[in-house]
């Protein structure tokens, strides 16, 4: 076509002389990376920082107030106590990212576990079959919510509130008012009550680090191949180093004998590698697959996602199914810990699950947050419950403090949004 600019009218020129940062992808040295991170934080994108800070403060306070808090036995107990909430929090992240909510996630696992425990009573079904059925209930409930939310357009708050009430009724029918069914011993029981042998704990840590390292290396190789610059390797090693040190500390701690003189008890509870697996697979899905990317896109701007060719209905629907199935997994961890199922199972935990995600830095408005945020947030709430229990506070005080933390976290989120609204656009 025509050469250069020969059109009349105001002269148009965008090329300024500032050295182009393009092709650097914004990555420079370590200093640049740190600076850009600090800038993001100042801009309101704090992620889990407040929760991590809060966690450190809480641990210090509880450790100072009660010497029992940091004992090996209590730490191990903390892990198994936190596991159901951590898992439920991760489940909810999938729908919270869409800007939706699932208030029925708790009773969903209540129903699924009620069915599971009842069916596996002596003389009943084999546990693997019952487990499949329980997960199937998760798929069905998630599909039900997804249908009304994604296809019909009913607000998820209303649909899941309806299910929250309705499924409690189902629970009463299955279990009977005031009834309790004991979980019969099975591998399900072992999840929260048995530990890995010490060597397996170390193997677990090595596998996690190995996978993270391999993925990071693969990424760098790919970027190099396409000519995209890599962030400084130091950052990668620093991240891996932090995970390695924290992980080694935890594994070492849990591998200490925390039993009595009569019976030794040591090792990482079996639930820990299961939760880690969910965290890693889930993070992989959210960060590296279309499904995950589209969840973020829909949470950010549904119309934009639709115009870009994203099947919004299908993605939303699937996200609700993922949420409900993971909720059932949280139920498995609960029933394994508690050892029984009653008609009220899962009724209260759902709001703590939402709180866990929000405390960890997942936005209720959609589009912002990661699975690890829910893990951190759930840990905060579990530490509060555990620590205040040790200090002999009443359950009432515990609930009040947890509620206060939630409001605080939501306030931080709202302020951060305001701030990023002011700096951006």
């Amino acid at each position: 076509m025509s050469t250069e600019t020969e059109n009349e009218g105001p002269k148009v020129d965008v090329v300024d002389d500032a050295p182009s940062l393009l092709g650097k992808g914004g990555h420079g040295g370590v200093g640049d990376a740190v600076r850009s991170y600090l800038q993001r934080v100042r801009g309101g994108d704090m992620g889990p920082l407040p929760a991590v800070g809060g966690l450190v403060v809480l641990v210090v306070i509880f450790a100072a107030a009660n010497p029992l808090f940091l004992t090996e036995r209590n730490i191990a107990n903390l892990f198994t106590q936190a596991a159901p909430l951590v898992t439920l929090g991760m489940a909810l992240v999938f729908v919270l990212l869409l800007g939706e909510i699932d208030l029925s996630a708790g009773v969903t696992f209540g129903v699924a576990m009620g069915v599971f425990v009842k069916l596996t009573q002596p003389g009943g079904m084999s546990w693997p079959l019952a487990l499949l059925l329980a997960l199937g209930i998760g798929v069905a409930v998630g599909g039900f919510i997804g249908f009304f939310v994604a296809r019909i357009g009913v607000p998820s708050f209303v649909v899941s509130l309806g299910l929250f009430l309705g499924l409690q009724g189902v629970m009463l029918v299955i279990i009977g008012a005031g009834g309790t069914y004991r979980l019969i011993p099975s591998p399900i029981r072992a999840i929260q009550n048995q530990n890995l042998p010490p060597w397996a704990g170390w193997t677990m840590l090595a596998v996690v680090l190995g996978v993270l390292y391999a993925v990071a290396l693969l990424d760098r190789r790919r970027r190099e191949k396409s000519g995209a610059p890599n962030p400084p390797a130091t950052i990668m090693y620093a991240k891996l180093g932090v995970i390695a040190v924290l992980g080694a500390f935890v594994v070492f701690y849990l591998n200490q004998d925390r039993g009595t003189a009569a019976r030794s008890l040591e090792g990482v509870p079996i639930v820990v590698p299961l939760v880690l697996l969910i965290l890693m697979v889930g993070t992989y899905v959210l960060d590296r697959t279309r499904f995950g990317r589209y969840i973020y896109a829909i949470g950010g701007n549904t119309e934009a996602a639709r115009r870009a060719g994203v099947n919004v209905t299908l993605v939303k629907w699937s996200a609700f199914v993922v949420c409900s199935v993971l909720a059932v997994v949280a139920g498995i961890f609960t029933v394994s810990k508690v050892g029984s199922a009653d008609a009220a199972m899962g009724r209260e935990i759902v709001l703590s699950g939402v709180a866990a995600a929000v405390v960890g830095g997942v936005s209720l408005f959609g589009g912002r947050g990661r699975l690890v945020h829910a893990v951190i947030g759930a840990t905060v709430i579990a530490v509060i419950t555990n620590g205040m229990g040790l200090l002999k506070f009443s359950a009432g005080a515990n609930l009040a403090v947890t509620g206060g933390v939630l409001v605080l976290a939501a306030t931080v989120d709202a302020l951060a949004r305001k701030r990023s609204g002011a700096t951006g656009v």
Binding site: D13, L22, S36, R290, A305, G309, G367, R368, G424
Partner: protein, 249 residues
């Protein structure tokens, strides 16, 4: 020069209202064609038909000389027709690369090939000589209006679009940013793309367009070369006080 897109006697009505009454329109590779007209003249309807969002009732659409049907946005996308909407359709919570590749992510071995996408995004922005973006991994929320428009336009480059339709690309921008975006539009056309730009701002139209097509109440009243006409003439056609009896293609 042959047209990449040619519309022949396109009609469209909503109930009893004839919005397009036999409209002819062409767009050429490497040229910026401005589509102007007053509110209600049928600009949006014409564009929605091209995008496949609202199919035309009658008439013929020729793409690179052969007749095509545009019944679905997918049809348009397959031909390489991209629309950059006024409200930009970007996700604030995603970064520039993620936005540019939304819906057409590059996969390798089942996962995102971020390196490849980042490199291609950089190349697309380079074709448009964009140098105002600091980092490709910036969230779109942190960009200015002009930069957001830049990302939206660059997205069509990544998609290797042959025809890019811009709906009021400068409507919400300040003076400097308008100049930036118009420069971008020019370079997009210079790279061989047929650009169709809808604008109310005649100053912008004359700054960037090669051809000007004027819609007046559902008919194409004028098709002009920008260098051969004046602003007063175009205003005349838009308001209906002037009329072209015969139109040279």
């Amino acid at each position: 020069m042959s047209a990449i897109i040619e519309l022949r006697s396109i009609t469209k009505s909503f109930g009893p209202v004839d919005v397009l009454k036999g409209v002819d329109f062409t767009a050429h590779e490497g040229r910026v064609t401005a589509l102007v007209g007053d509110n209600g003249a049928g600009k949006s309807t014409l564009i929605k038909g091209l995008a496949g969002v609202q199919p035309y009732d009658g008439g013929q659409v020729l793409f690179e000389g052969s007749p095509v049907t545009l019944h679905h946005p997918r049809d348009a996308a397959r031909l390489g027709i991209e629309v950059v909407y006024q409200d930009l359709a970007l996700c604030d919570n995603l970064d520039i690369v993620q936005n540019m590749f939304l819906g057409r992510e590059e996969l390798a071995g089942g996962t995102f090939d971020e390196g490849r996408m980042e490199a291609e995004a950089a190349r697309a922005l380079q074709t448009l000589s964009v140098k105002t973006v600091k980092s490709l991994r910036q969230k779109v929320a942190s960009l200015s209006g002009g930069q957001r428009q830049t990302v939206a336009i660059a997205r069509s480059v990544v998609k290797k679009a042959k025809v890019v339709i811009l709906d009021e690309p400068t409507a919400a921008l300040g003076v400097a940013q308008t100049a930036q975006v118009l420069g971008l539009v020019r370079r997009l056309a210079d790279s061989g793309v047929a650009v169709i730009i809808i604008s109310h701002n005649l100053q912008d139209v004359f700054a960037v367009a090669d051809d000007i097509s004027v819609l007046y109440l559902g008919t194409m009243t004028a098709r002009l070369e920008a260098s051969q006409t004046s602003r007063d003439d175009v205003v005349g056609y838009i308001t209906g006080t002037k009329r072209m009896t015969e139109v040279d293609a």
